[in-house]
């Protein structure tokens, strides 16, 4: 999850970000498990019948999905035992494992049986998100829909800080949440889908509240210059302006006709 400040782990006085968020005794507050991103459901084009959710946490998104699409069967994958235990009360099935360790046949998830795959702010936490996408592809129906959200590394806030303060500072929450180990701009995400055997059908931008006004004021201009302290960007197109003002992208993709290369 790209956690909000409210859902970040509680940091005791004098505790560093890595102490609070990494390691065996790192704890996630309850709020972390209650939030979900409704844009992942809004972007779907068809009602899901059998959904597979990677990183289902405590099942908040799945619960919302079941409310919106009655009758949908949801299988979740979650590594955190506490979250998985709560998710079991809401999903049809929860596989408590790392995705690379799951034997889907043994779990009763048949090839081609999944019509909707969801990964909400999960891929940026994985060492090899590329193989994850390749790995789930055989489970998907030929016309399956994937809804994936990713934080945006081309966000203006990251670079305003890097170039004015000289710091890439990991935090307990947000775009540089210390549990994020992979970074993507829009083009990188599109390339990831292409390389792993998917066609991207739609992209929505979750605007960063910090830059929402900047975006509104400049969105209609053919060419925009941005300046944050010593950091200046010239001649940006409207889609680029939007990318700089975006906190997170939400993608809708579908398996490409061409199978992915064997990994």
């Amino acid at each position: 999850m790209t956690r909000s400040a409210e859902s970040a782990p509680v940091r005791r006085a004098g505790q560093f970000v890595w102490e609070a968020c990494l390691g065996k005794d790192a704890t996630l507050p309850d709020e972390h498990y209650h939030g979900f991103n409704p844009m992942l459901l809004d972007i779907l084009r068809r009602p899901p019948r059998h959904a597979l959710e990677l990183g289902c946490a405590a099942g908040s998104l799945a619960a919302a999905m079941k409310e919106r699409f009655p009758g949908v069967r949801v299988t979740g994958i979650e590594t955190d035992p506490q979250a998985a235990a709560v998710a079991r009360t809401r999903l049809d099935k929860v596989i408590e494992a790392r995705v690379e360790d799951v034997d889907f046949a043994a779990e009763g998830v048949e090839p081609g049986s999944i019509d909707t795959f969801l990964a909400g702010d999960v891929l940026e936490h994985l060492h090899d998100p590329w193989r994850t996408l390749v790995g789930i592809r055989p489970l998907l129906a030929g016309d399956a829909q994937l809804a994936v959200s990713l934080p945006n590394v081309r966000n203006l806030g990251i670079h305003a800080r890097l170039h004015n303060e000289g710091s890439w500072r990991y935090d307990t929450h947000g775009l540089l949440d210390i549990t994020h180990i992979r970074f993507f701009a829009l083009r990188d995400a599109m390339r990831m889908f292409e390389e792993t055997g998917y066609a991207c059908l739609d992209v929505k931008c979750n605007l960063d509240p910090e830059f929402a006004r900047l975006y509104e004021e400049n969105a209609a201009k053919p060419s925009v210059s941005l300046s944050v302290g010593r950091f200046k960007l010239d001649n940006l197109s409207a889609p680029e302006l939007q990318e700089y003002c975006t906190r997170q992208f939400i993608f809708l993709a579908t398996p490409a006709p061409r199978p992915p290369r064997p990994a």
């Binding site: 390691g23 970074f183 083009r187």
Partner: protein, 266 residues
């Protein structure tokens, strides 16, 4: 490693970076076995006697250090079996494991027995480099030196590529080597050292060959503006300019004095 090895680490036709570099069965680039960062030896403030090296690869840096400082006892930690086997022919001792799994007492490495710790282009590959630094601290003598190199995320190539082309593009080698999962600007390196119990004594910059000319043409000027395509960085100090032209930082640090109530103090 963050060398200029990109051109020699070639993808097969049609192969992607992640296919080439990640996953089980992917052997590390053998070029890395023979390359090492000579600056890690040059940054040392004193002659090392007992060295612990995290990510010793095939042991070439150890060999290089011993040429200048004969008689050093050099323990390497390396998780790749092939590299570790080669390192055994060059180092005093090689522990083939991940750092977090090592029982140092069982390996015969007593608390306070290491006077030099080296981590050359290794921390950026770890999920928790902070705890790695905390974990080795009890092994170090109070006046130990640590030499650490890390790639620089505030480098102009990264800046230009992201803002002009819109790419944060992982590559088989270099700054955005796809095996890098942690990123640091110079301030972040200082912060990491401070938070994990070390004070920085010296920093050397390995200048990025692509920007060596830019740096030498502008150093000494009070306020420099650097333009890379549509990106402009204004009012840079000489230190800022150096950072943008740096491929990699090489940091020398020492353990901070232990607090009186620290059980390790005795």
């Amino acid at each position: 490693m963050t060398g200029d090895t990109a051109q020699t680490s070639e993808l097969a036709p049609g192969q992607t970076v992640w296919e080439h570099c990640l996953g089980t069965g992917v052997a590390p680039n053998p070029l890395y076995y023979n390359s090492f960062n000579a600056t890690l030896r040059e940054v040392l403030a004193r002659a090392p006697r007992r060295i612990l090296e995290l990510g010793c690869s095939a042991g070439k840096l150890g060999e290089f250090i011993r040429e200048k400082y004969p008689g050093t006892f050099h323990v390497g930690i390396e998780m790749n079996a092939e590299a570790a086997a080669l390192a055994r022919t060059r180092l005093s001792q090689v522990i083939e494991a991940r750092l977090e799994d090592i029982d140092f007492a069982a390996e015969g490495i007593a608390p306070g027995s290491i006077d030099t710790f080296i981590a050359g282009d290794v921390l950026e590959h770890l999920y928790d480099p902070w705890r790695a630094l905390v974990r080795v601290r009890p092994l170090l003598s109070d006046d130990a030196q640590i030499a650490v190199s890390v790639p620089n995320v505030r480098n102009l190539m990264i800046v230009g590529q992201l803002h002009n082309e819109g790419n944060w593009r992982y590559t088989p080698a270099g700054l955005l080597d796809v095996t890098h999962i942690r990123f640091f600007a110079l301030r972040d390196v200082f912060q990491m050292m401070d938070e994990t119990g070390y004070r920085v004594a010296d920093v050397k910059s390995n200048i990025d060959a692509r920007y060596a000319e830019l740096y030498s043409a502008n150093r000494g000027k009070p306020n420099v503006t650097v333009q890379v395509g549509r990106v402009k960085l204004e009012n840079l100090s000489e230190a800022d300019l150096l950072e943008y032209c740096t491929l990699q930082f090489i940091v020398l640090a020492h353990p901070k004095a232990r607090a009186a109530n620290d059980p390790q103090a005795a």
